[in-house]
Symmetry: C2
Subunit: 357 residues, 2 copies
């Protein structure tokens, strides 16, 4: 198979971690008889600096022409005071919308080797943790219209619209059901149906859609309770499906409790077009360029890419196994180092994974 | 002083815990030479059953006529399938709006005696935890108009409006600044200004308002990051101020990490009229009527009432001290029992606090 990948290294540690991940991709491809072609495109702050725009037209075109997209990270203090209309994040939101990436898969997994790094009490985390958060990514308050500023009773007021249509809800619940079916067969839909109209439709459509998957057990939880339950008893969850803003909050919460946020990949997919893969963590400008960032989340994003974009299960498993091997040998980047094993930098970690493949 | 209190026991364990809290209030009043008059009003499911309406007019009138309101809890499975327009929660939302209770104070405090019950890793919680979440309570998507259902491209869509005016933001930030000034002098304003227009106005007004409090150090955090930081390093927070929906999620998250959610009170205040005090926890229908609920959060809500509604600091401190004494002696209700001390029920716990005053 030939894989045509668009790389968007982005800002901060983005370029370093993407470099390592591409090496891993190329090695796996070679080993299994595939070929890889890459093209690099600008996004975020890097694109603002080079082109005055966080998402140049050429980037959208390059992504659309690719089979899959690998993103590093965007943003940093350098662009914090910039006109909101062209902030680095606009690049991220823009490419999600342009590629129709409505489904964001964020696994929150505890790597047994890193259990000591989890922030939860050992007896809670001891029961393991393997949650898949399926976040709707192109709807809700992120993109809802109308939005902006107005004048109410003589003073300024600003507003956004949380809106979902039936088909938007249905397609993301369907994705979540398909995933749940291949895992623990439990799906928890998170909403705020006791307060929000948009959540009541969400719940109604979730029930209707999940009914087509009788092997999947659907439950519902209010978002405030979900924020608690993730801490109180995370092992109760298998797959969580929720809307954009709730998913933003809950997926970050779910990933931090693993203690391994530098390890967690994500996939953003649409219906048919190229999907986008990226680490969950941010651009970490404070450690950029020092060769100490953790490339494993990006490397595991390549594994997700092979699995979800190309259906290359064996190839993906080879990467997962290599990462496990390296962790088992005790190698750690600074963010996951908790006093044991050997501390290594970004390129050294990349090389170790490469060797283990 | 004569204190005219409206009691709304509500549903589930509400009546039991309010009964204990009233006894404590009466004892403290007597000890310090005050008098208490109480009136009881219907709210939530109890009001639906009795009057077909979760917030009868008579309840609103009784609350408005009181100096302060003490609420138990509302809701339960019995009313889960009821017409959304008259759900028990509508009573709660309605009374907040009717009394103009725009500021919701939710302390997340770790009781040293209960440190073992915290869900976080001991070394993280070891640094202590004393956060005050100041949640805006009458704005945002909870009440924003327009809201409802519409038809978009031939299919149903549902929507809510997240909206804040300058004055709504200013008054809640002011409350938070005043509180921060009396505590650790740090205020973290939580928003999603990288995505939402409403958050950008929030941040602008927060900066402008907090500038009048030069002794308070203002910082800003995105809500997804705040959900992580509460777990990663909760002791970095002193006072958090945020909008209604984010506050709903983050205050629940902050309280669960203490492991003492059955211990945490809250206050909801407006500008001038009667304030409302209630435990953070819910109506726990599964244990209602068994005399095993934890009355301490409601008892501590009475302490907040004395302090915030009546300025009776000594009286409030007497309750706080009595609760500490009872905990130090090892008495625990089931929810905070972690293998040590003596397990007691709801009325026994109330009696113990009464004795300790
Ligand atoms: C950077 C920001 C716009 C983005 C989001 O809110 O979606 C990020 O938090 C994420 O979760 O990918
Ligand atoms: C019951 C519900 C309407 C309410 C809210 O969302 O405000 C509750 O969660 C709370 O936090 O007091």
């Amino acid at each position: 198979m030939n894989m045509n990948i668009c790389l968007m290294p982005g800002d901060g540690i983005g370029p370093e971690i993407v470099t390592q991940a591409v090496k891993v991709l190329e090695k796996v491809a070679k080993k299994f008889g595939h070929t890889v072609q890459t093209e690099t495109a600008l996004i975020g702050g890097a694109a603002i600096d080079a082109a005055g725009n966080p998402l140049p037209e050429a980037t959208v075109a390059a992504c659309k022409a690719a089979d899959a997209v690998l993103l590093g990270a965007v943003g940093g203090p350098k662009w914090d005071t910039i006109d909101p209309a062209i902030r680095p994040e606009k690049g991220l939101l823009g490419i999600r919308k342009a590629l129709g990436l409505f489904s964001n898969l964020r696994p929150a997994v505890l790597f047994p080797e890193l259990a000591a790094a989890s922030y939860l009490r050992p007896d809670i985390i001891g029961q393991g943790l393997d949650i898949m958060v399926v976040r709707e990514l192109t709807g809700g308050a992120y993109f809802g219209e109308p939005r902006g500023e107005t004048v109410v009773n003589g003073e300024r007021a600003a507003f956004n619209t949380m809106i979902y249509s039936e088909s938007e809800i249905e397609r993301i619940v369907r994705v979540a059901c398909e995933i749940a079916r291949k895992r623990g067969k439990k799906l928890c839909s998170v909403d705020k149906a006791n307060v929000l109209d948009v959540s009541r439709l969400w719940r109604e459509v979730a029930i209707r859609t999940a009914a087509e998957y009788p092997d999947v057990a659907l439950s519902h939880m209010y978002v405030d309770n979900a924020a608690m339950q993730l801490i109180r008893d995370p092992s109760q969850f298998d797959v969580i499906v929720t809307e954009n803003l709730f998913g933003d909050i809950l997926s970050d919460e779910a990933s931090i409790i693993t203690g391994s946020i530098g390890m967690l990949p994500s996939a953003s997919m649409g219906s048919g077009g190229p999907a986008l893969f990226e680490p969950i963590h941010g651009s970490a400008p404070d450690i950029a360029g020092q060769d100490i960032a953790n490339p494993l989340a990006t490397i595991l994003s390549v594994s997700m890419m092979l699995r979800f974009a190309f259906g290359l299960e064996k190839e993906a498993a080879a990467i997962d196994a290599a990462v496990k091997t390296v962790l088992a040998k005790g190698y750690r980047t600074g963010d996951i180092y908790v006093g044991e094993g050997e501390k290594v930098g970004c390129s050294a970690m990349g090389a170790l994974v490469l060797d283990a493949i």
